[in-house]
Symmetry: C2
Subunit: 558 residues, 2 copies
């Protein structure tokens, strides 16, 4: 077998060949940190293509259904913009635009002949995280060792999306192992943040985050085991949803830690358009995934739940804001975004109370113990095929391999020991549920708190290698609560000055202080600031609707 670097070189050559050569552009100079304007100024896209790629998912679907825009036109426009995006932030892995255009042409034919759409996603280009197998393509998931492994069939979700009329056209970048909240691997390299390329796009669905922020895709599929949809959504300033276990089919996709049955990775939508969340979830759930994936939950899309039947029909909601998680206090821009949101919700007539977090630190530890029960062996066995190194830092200079490592510190535990950790986690789940139920006494609505609003991370997108703390998202995975990401503002050095009498609070511990010390408004300049809305297990319908309510309140308050 050739040295692993030779395998990478060969794979990269093939990737380059998969890019239409006439779409290669001269990227802006490295000093240009914010590249979000480049796709529209570079000259590759015509005015109509710019219009198409700036259109929201619901409107795109309407214009596709009415044949105002053809699927070929829409797929071409997003493909061009995706290729430009890739040249800016290195967000793509597999690129398969020709088959996508062929599929788009079929869809156009079908609509022309029958007057009907194929399904609810007719003609919509969809990007996919580099786990979602497509027949005939490799799924390397950033492992050199998996180069050359061609899928014999589609992942169930890919089949579902195609049946719904979607047009997969590119796959997107991730970190090696997926278990890191940034996106760097030895095969495809690093994805950067389009709002400021010196910052991370987040991870593990960082390629999706960056691509969608540049409008190179109207909607993409990420996966989330500890925040991997939400962190890049938040860092890149887009919408995202982490559904509950089993709401979206996972079967037939590649993954890390396979066979780990406890804290599961889930697929969820990432999109520029809030409408994309409902469109995606409704289409996927209505396809009856439980007949295609044994782990998919037999629960129909419930429009009553979307209309907040269990939340007083949405008239008089009570949101709880978690200002910090009792472990790491968020940076000033995050605090400001929470204040903006609180004011907007109150102005819209909703009630806002404070959320008191319980046992978040322990939940984070338990989650890591469950993953690390066998992860060292998983990584070692996977990488040993080619001898590629296990990446231990995502810093630019690869200097700091000790701090904030998302790699296991030991070799694993026994199954019985794993069961004990899993038992502890189930006990905390019950405790947290009781804690939430008990809020019924303080909301004044007769119900418990309708949703929690909280940071997605203690900071906006940090510099590469510095995303050290994922517990603002991970706790909800451990509890299996669905959660969305929605944009609120961007880091503004004037409004978000570092308090020079720092700290403004007493630090919980040294780690908390270290995170605070990292803050420098100039360094984070222009980074999007998003928040998270959290609901109850399998309540995706209500969580999406409440996010729409919050989003509308924010827009109205502006």
């Amino acid at each position: 077998m050739p040295h692993w670097t030779a395998l990478v070189a060969e794979k990269k050559q093939r990737q380059l060949k998969s890019i239409p050569q006439e779409w290669l552009v001269t990227p802006p100079p490295p000093s240009t940190l914010d590249v979000t304007g480049f796709p529209e100024s570079c000259g590759l896209l015509n005015a109509r293509e710019i219009e198409i790629t700036n259109t929201s998912v619901d409107v795109l679907l309407k214009r596709l259904a009415s044949a105002e825009w053809t699927a070929v036109d829409v797929t071409t426009a997003f493909s061009k913009r995706a290729i430009v995006a890739h040249q800016l932030v290195n967000c793509l892995t597999e690129i398969f635009i020709d088959p996508a255009l062929a599929r788009a042409a079929e869809l156009d034919d079908y609509l022309k002949k029958t007057g009907k759409v194929v399904g609810p996603l007719h003609g919509l280009p969809i990007s996919l995280k580099d786990q979602l197998c497509i027949k005939g393509l490799e799924t390397t998931m950033g492992y050199v060792s998996w180069i050359g492994q061609y899928a014999e069939k589609n992942a169930v979700l890919v089949d579902v999306l195609i049946e719904c009329g979607a047009v997969p056209f590119v796959r997107t970048n991730i970190p090696q192992t997926l278990m890191w909240p940034e996106s760097f691997n030895s095969v495809f390299g690093r994805t950067t943040n389009p709002h400021n390329v010196s910052l991370t796009s987040g991870g593990s669905s960082g390629g999706e985050g960056a691509l969608i922020a540049l409008k190179g895709s109207p909607l993409g599929v990420g996966s989330d085991i500890g925040g991997s949809v939400r962190i890049p959504s938040a860092f890149c300033g887009i919408y995202g949803l982490r559904p509950s276990y089993g709401r979206v089919p996972y079967c037939g996709a590649r993954n890390s830690l396979e066979g780990q049955d406890s804290i599961l990775s889930v697929f969820g939508p990432m999109t520029n358009s809030l409408s994309g969340l409902k469109v995606f979830m409704k289409a996927v759930v209505n396809s009856k995934p439980w007949l295609k994936d044994p782990l998919a939950v037999r629960k129909k899309w419930d429009e009553d739940e979307y209309e907040l039947a269990d939340h007083g029909s949405g008239k008089d909601l009570c949101f709880a804001i978690m200002w910090d998680d009792g472990v790491v206090v968020p940076h000033p821009p995050i605090r400001r975004s929470l204040e903006i949101t609180k004011a907007a919700l109150q102005k819209a007539g909703h009630k806002v109370v404070d959320w008191k977090p319980i046992k978040h630190k322990l939940l984070g530890e338990v989650t890591r113990d469950i993953w690390n029960a066998g992860s060292a062996e998983d990584y070692m066995i996977t990488t040993s095929v080619t001898g590629e190194p296990i990446i231990a830092t995502m810093e630019l200079d690869h200097a700091d391999t000790t701090a904030a490592s998302f790699r296991p510190q030991n070799g694993g535990i026994t199954a019985y020991q794993l069961w004990q950790v899993q038992k502890l986690r189930q006990n905390i789940r019950k405790e947290y549920m009781d804690h939430w139920n008990a809020t019924a006494s303080e909301t004044g609505t007769g119900r418990a708190v309708d949703a929690i609003i909280c940071p997605a991370a203690p900071y906006a997108a940090p510099p590469h290698g510095k995303n050290r703390y994922t517990n603002y998202t991970t706790v909800w995975n451990a509890l299996d609560y669905p959660a969305t990401i929605f944009p609120v503002t961007t880091v503004d050095p004037t409004l978000d000055a570092r308090d020079e009498k720092d700290p403004p609070h007493r630090f919980y511990d040294q780690f908390d202080q270290d995170v605070y010390e990292m803050y420098d408004p100039e360094k984070f300049k222009n980074a999007p600031v998003c928040l998270q809305l959290v609901g109850r297990t399998l309540e995706e319908e209500a969580v999406i609707k409440m996010t729409e309510i919050v989003d509308a309140a924010l827009a109205a308050a502006k």
Copy 2:
């Protein structure tokens, strides 16, 4: 600490004291194998009490709701019969009739004052497997080491049932560890089969099976991780349901192998009345258990699914009969029950095809590997508190401790190894689902097979210690398919003669032959013969309705 036998003696004294002394009877001589007639002939129950205890669940609930019968009357009648049953087959563990009668009196008061029932189970006595904690009572689960551990609160399901108006009054016997398909432990001893006390009642919910067969309870709750609701239901000749994971709340109950998140134990109803299955499931699901138990699935009771919306409204069903599982061929009475059922269904206008089992042997092995990943440590740590022995045989003479042991043969595996087994199991789940879907091409209904009908075991209730093979139930746990048990016939030495040109088939292997050699119609005389109906994950509504259809077809064909 006293020797464990002293702890048992003391516990048994307390159990004896919990029995109303005036309800002690003189049991029939040991030569009486069939004791099912004794409760009505022993003289303890008056005619009305006999009538009450012979009444089906739906009628009981109607008469309770109309105050024709008081909750006190009904609870008294079943309590008396339960105590008689206990003296016949040793089926009870905790006995708490006084608090039950006090609760019944409250319910009567409430109905008298308000004219309303408390809930859908108003006044219905319900027996509970010895895992379901009740505040103030011990939950030993047959472990000497757990004697003296008093529950501080009710299990979630107990709360739900009480809110629904049910009256818990006794708990029922199990095997030590729960992981054995018979019911014997060092604290409470052995439960026998009321149809023939030389046979096992099955397990692990064997106390429930025996109690309900003697009509000492109209409805009970068992648990099922590999057949523990279905095996005793089948051996004792009653109805039972193993729901999918999370349909019935488990939180707050005691269990074996806690923290094992993969192949989960579930609670399900066991009853003399087919109506009891729907009554129980609808009441529990309508209580929104997902707000009380983090693992309970947010899926409402779906009356459309009960009316077989996904199965052509039940007009033209296609059942698949699995005659054997490719591992162990069933005894003649089981074969005959399948033939009876096939003929009855065809007579009722339904289609019947053959079910081809795939990978049942492997599924059984994988399931055992998952449980045994940590079970040796689990049992050892639990029993080490008092030094009670880990029971290794359930034979009467304790002779054969090698054959058919349901104890782990080694000390466990690593978490990573466990993940590999769990991964294999998920792959087989997908394969089995595809296999089921593929039957759409042979049913002629346009749908895949609506339900599978198969044995619950390769035999009717065998002699004590001889229940060696559970895979007819366990595979459906591994696949998470809901399954019911329904009675078909009883072993009849005339109709079920052993074929003297035995075997009638070529044996799969020595084990298959050993199971066949065990058959002797005289030995199994009078044992009930039940079958199993299997549906798709989270399709409890349809599975119950289809069982009602099969039951009606069997009645009509008689």
